[in-house]
């Protein structure tokens, strides 16, 4: 069965290094199957570029099933494209029409320096995690089942926050390039569970300090992050982070 194909015009941000000047380059994307994902469409374009002895477009990707957080670009002004709760790899070309022009840009934030084309360095998020996004226990043997009872409500609360894949779309979508949704997801995920509670206060303070030091903007409750988050993380997590942070500072 031959699926429907469409022709597109891409305007892609090309930039060799962060210190070089970048610009939008126009490429045709011909005979794109609507069943392809956005990344597969880029693969097709890159095959063409390679055949023409041109430098293929650099972009980040890994699992291509929406769970690793590696891919991501701003498509027509929207992080991961216009579909709700979708990563770029899960954005299918059926959501575009024949003849569309698609502008593709990298995540833009001072804290995410550009590496090449659509690839940015998101290690600032790793630094925030290293500052406190963990639980300090000597692992030892596996505990017995049900030795640490956790109610379903608490588990769900933790899971909602733990859904964060750290893709950085919240930073990219935030008008202030703030990482509060990411940091809040990590803080409230761990603070909800008994294993994470003992360090909750120290963690909130350390991660917020690190977030500020990385050069992210300040949250001003624009709520663009929750609208763009591919995992549907709510700004309720940010309110919880604020509570944890005040607890850590005032208590």
């Amino acid at each position: 069965m031959i699926s429907k194909t469409i022709n597109l015009t891409l305007k892609v941000w090309r930039q060799n290094r962060s210190d070089k000047i970048g610009r939008l380059e126009t490429y045709p994307a011909k005979d794109i199957s609507v069943d392809m994902s956005f990344l597969e469409m880029l693969d097709v374009v890159n095959e063409d570029l390679t055949r023409q002895k041109k430098e293929p477009i650099a972009f980040d990707h890994d699992c291509r099933e929406g769970i690793c957080g590696m891919c991501g670009a701003v498509v027509n002004g929207r992080a991961h494209g216009h579909e709700k709760e979708t990563t770029l790899c899960q954005l299918h070309m059926r959501h575009f029409s024949d003849g569309d022009t698609i502008v593709i840009e990298p995540w833009r934030a001072r804290a995410f320096p550009l590496i090449k084309d659509l690839v940015v360095d998101r290690s600032a998020l790793d630094k925030v995690i290293a500052a406190g996004g963990y639980i300090s226990v000597n692992a030892g043997g596996a505990p017995d089942a049900n030795s640490l009872p956790i109610s379903r409500d608490v588990a769900e609360k933790a899971f909602n926050a733990a859904a964060c894949i750290g893709c950085g779309a919240c930073v990219a979508a935030c008008p202030n390039a703030s990482a509060m949704l990411f940091v809040s997801a990590k803080v409230s995920h761990l603070a909800a569970l008994p294993q994470g509670k003992p360090e909750a206060a120290r963690r909130a303070m350390a991660m917020v300090r690190q977030m500020d030091a990385c050069g992210f903007g300040n949250c001003s409750n624009e709520t663009e992050c929750e609208a763009e988050c591919p995992k549907g993380i709510s700004i309720i997590e940010i309110a919880r982070l604020n509570r944890e942070y005040f607890k850590s500072e005032f208590a």
Partner: protein
Amino acid sequence: MNWFIEMLRSSIGKKLMMAITGLAFILFLLIHLIGNLTLYGGKELFLSYVDHLHALGPLIRVAEIGLLTFAIIHVSTGLILFWQNLQARPVRYQVDKRAGGRTIGSATMPYTGVLILGFVVVHLLNFHFIDHTQQTVFQAVDATFAMLPYVVFYTVAVIVVAIHVSHGFWSLFQTIGANHIKYMPAIKGLGVIISLLVAAGFGFIPVYVSFIM
């Protein structure tokens, strides 16, 4: 005290300062509105309200100093946040679309804030820093709103205040950590009601004084 300064310097600390001072201004606005409503009762009622207010004496001074301090904190922190947030994205997007989170209020906070600061200065020059021995406050109100540009200016200004409050009100609850699926819809609703009250309540006063009174 060091930890306190450090806390206020953090991004969440700055939000906290905006939230607390903002809440104080909203409460002030509502009390100010209740007082101003006496204008609808005519000259006698309004002047009697003014007399009662001034009879509070030293309390008024304390309130004035408090409001001025809060204004300095709110404006300077707001400007710092605006500047830092611009710096956080040195290269802007060529195409930038909203995902549905931003509102007119949230997108214009720094701009409406600066406009409100200008308005407050004019407002104080009109009614506060005048020779109170030569005229009553009522005469000042009457004389100001006899001029059509002032009627337009004040009405537009309070609409700007309402836009600012429309984001500020629910936002301050979010900042202090009071966001819960049970209560947030009510808080947001209350924010809309307060914004409309501010716009309609204050906005109609110049029109009333100018054309109806």
